[in-house]
């Protein structure tokens, strides 16, 4: 069973709907006990980094998220919060993956909204104004061009992240969610 974290920065329903569409069993979780019981965790995110971290601290979820040892998937803001620090509201984040979240360059359309071509050749749906710059480039699993070469996905240990929205990225997204689900066994 995959858990989907409930906190104040969620496009949680979109993710739940996608998993339902794909027949992947999932449940909403919001306490450390519930988090401990699932086989994998999806950490959705939309909105601002500061408000999201405040809510995670209030709900005492920072520890359980940092100590999670099963497959963990952060989506969009959920991936950005894995890093040390975000320039968005100068927010201290979870500090699981070394690196910072910076604003996209000025010379491109911002926010970066729409379907962009991953380095794999597939198209994925993005909607963000900030991007991850991991300290160790080896954690980057895929990239995309938008003003700069942007980290579109990362993996460190059991922590996975996607800057794009697999729940909204057509067949490419469906396949990624199915792959992640097959890890959570």
């Amino acid at each position: 069973m995959i858990g989907i974290l409930r906190y104040n920065a969620g496009n949680r329903e979109s993710v739940i709907a996608a998993l339902r569409r794909l027949d992947i069993p999932a449940t909403t979780v919001e306490t450390s006990d519930e988090i401990a019981r699932v086989d994998g965790l999806i950490f959705p995110g939309a909105g601002a980094a500061g408000a999201a971290m405040d809510d995670l601290r209030t709900k005492r979820l920072v520890g359980p998220l940092r100590e999670f040892r099963k497959p963990f998937l952060g989506l969009c803001l959920g991936m950005q919060l894995l890093l040390d620090f975000s320039e968005e509201g100068n927010t201290e984040c979870l500090g699981i993956v070394r690196g910072t979240v910076r604003r996209l360059p000025d010379d491109v359309v911002r926010p970066h909204i729409g379907w962009n071509r991953l380095d794999t050749g597939e198209y994925a749906y993005f909607a963000h104004g900030y991007a991850c710059f991991p300290a160790d480039p080896r954690v980057v699993t895929m990239s995309v061009r938008h003003g700069a070469t942007i980290c579109a996905g990362l993996r460190q240990g059991c922590y996975f992240g996607l800057q794009w929205h697999p729940e909204k990225s057509g067949r490419t997204g469906d396949r990624f969610l199915q792959s992640f689900a097959s890890l959570c066994k």
Binding site: A48, N116, K168
Partner: protein, 509 residues
């Protein structure tokens, strides 16, 4: 070219097999950690570490994973042998391996390999092809894969893999020299795959020959273990010192962003109100069924405009959002009658990606500020209905309430202000062109694009395929939206995409 020393482990011992034959074992010691440390000291930056016991009998053991962990702290390690499913890939990578080498799994479960590439990145997966003449062997070289060499190479490329380790098993462990011709042919046929040579390497001359053949790296086993060559002498023979990343550098384009094609559905009381002439629809008024239809046809995004701005209407809009989220795997926006942040939040929580506000933002611009701060800039769309006027220096005036009222403000100035307040995207409709199919108001679009950095969706007037091209080329639009021409079957989504593509405008295929 990179030189990668190999350590093969069988029953806890560092060994070499001759031609993969488990009955022809040479033991070189029982301490792989010390061997790894020696290689590291001589300058190796990667090791090829193989679990021969697992390659032979399948399965894996905790002790081997612990060794992977220890070696990974000394030097980068690529690990192979008996890795045949996704959980095993995960365990080896989580133990610290930089990459896993998969052979049998390529043929036994290609979908799982594809999943591994997507999850862990192409830098983490190496395809091992154990070549015997024109054939490829699996299961520790004992069985035929049933696949010819070049078919296997095509499979590897299809799976998204970018690194191949090709071992000529007739040469491996024989110190008879590598099969240089094989690698040269590889590079000729598959120039985009990084190729690692393996099998039979003896000395610096072999290294030079492989480098000339175009190999990116080489695995060396026996020659180093029996001290017939030193690591330093092999590295010294390489002239290309840089190690290319498996992550292919992107073309240096500004952005690979595609122009979006967006059908717009007008909804009242939960039903589509403008007629449609789609064939084979059970219920042409059901927005969800239409949404699914457009999604299948290749729409990049959907916009639902709820034209019943009552409180009842808002409740049905929330239900609509949740039903659409269940039905389609593309993003969608809901607009119409949203006056408060709480309304917008409910729509997003129900599964909508973005919420568009129009009249309410004109009446109270702080709505945009609150929405963008609380819900995110990328989720906040400001919809602007504009009509040409002699006022505002011969520009456009903003209309509200579905075009019934003239707010008497300059549309371009309002667009700029909306973005300053936090709108992450603008949906710009030309009231003059709406429903005419006479083409988008490209002047309006261009004037707004000049002033804002956020994406602009062109709306109103889409008719011929060329009109959509003009919206992008002349108007600078980031997305094109239409209703009638799609609903009435005048144009399909793919007609518009074909026109955009032949105008060299990037689209999502």
């Amino acid at each position: 070219m990179q030189v990668i020393p190999a350590i093969d482990l069988l029953d806890g011992k560092v060994v070499r097999l001759a031609r993969g034959d488990f009955s022809r074992v040479t033991v070189f010691g029982d301490d792989p950690v010390r061997v790894a440390e020696d290689y590291r000291r001589s300058g190796a930056d990667r090791l090829h570490f193989v679990n021969l016991s697992a390659a032979k009998d399948g399965g894996e053991d905790r002790q081997f994973l612990q060794l992977v962990s220890r070696l990974s702290r000394i030097v980068e390690v690529q690990v192979g042998g008996g890795i045949r499913d996704l959980p095993s890939v995960r365990r080896h990578l989580e133990a610290g391996a930089s990459a896993v080498v998969v052979g049998t799994m390529l043929f036994a479960d290609p979908d799982a390999v594809r999943a591994a590439v997507a999850l862990f990145g192409p830098q983490s997966i190496v395809a091992a092809l154990d070549v015997d003449g024109e054939k490829v062997k699996i299961l520790g070289w004992r069985k035929d894969s049933g696949s010819g060499l070049w078919d296997a190479a095509r499979l590897v490329e299809r799976l998204g893999i970018r690194q191949v380790l090709a071992t000529d098993i007739s040469r491996d462990g024989m110190a008879s020299g590598p099969n240089v011709a094989l690698y040269a042919e590889w590079k000729r046929r598959f120039p985009r795959l990084r190729i690692t040579a393996s099998g039979g390497v003896r000395d610096a001359a072999d290294i030079r020959a492989l480098e000339e053949a175009g190999c990116d790296s080489v695995v060396v086993g026996r020659a180093l273990l029996d001290n017939s060559a030193t690591f330093a002498s092999l590295v010294h023979a390489c002239t290309r010192k840089e190690i290319e990343s498996a992550v292919v550098p992107q073309e240096e384009k500004q952005s690979g962003l595609a122009v979006r094609v967006i059908p717009c559905l007008d909804v009242a009381q939960g039903r589509v109100v403008k007629g449609t002439n789609f064939q084979n629809l059970r219920d042409a008024g059901d927005p969800v069924e239409l949404a699914r239809r457009y999604c299948d046809e290749g729409a990049d995004e959907l916009v639902f405009l709820d034209i019943t701005a009552t409180s009842d209407g808002r409740r049905t809009a929330v239900e609509l959002a949740s039903r659409v989220a269940d039905a389609v795997n593309i993003p969608f926006t809901i607009g119409g009658g949203v006056c408060r942040v709480a309304d917008a939040r409910r729509l997003l929580e129900a599964g909508a990606d973005k919420v568009a506000v129009n009249s309410a933002a004109v009446a109270d611009p702080t709505l945009l500020e609150e929405m963008s701060q609380q819900l995110g800039v990328a989720n906040t769309i400001c919809a602007i209905d504009a009509r040409r006027t002699r006022r505002h220096g011969g520009g456009w005036t903003v209309l509200t309430r579905g075009g019934r009222d003239d707010a008497n403000i300059d549309a371009v100035a309002w667009a700029e202000r909306a973005v300053r307040l936090g709108a992450g995207e603008l949906l710009v409709t030309s009231h003059d062109r709406d429903g005419t199919a006479a083409g988008f108001d490209t002047d309006l679009l261009a004037r707004i694009k000049e002033k804002v950095s956020v994406p602009v969706i062109a709306s109103g007037g889409g008719g011929s395929p060329e009109s959509f091209v003009d919206a992008v080329r002349v108007g600078g639009a980031d997305a094109v939206l239409a209703a009638g021409v799609f609903h009435f079957g005048v144009l399909s989504i793919s007609d518009v995409k074909a026109a955009l593509r032949s105008a060299q405008i990037p689209i999502r295929p």
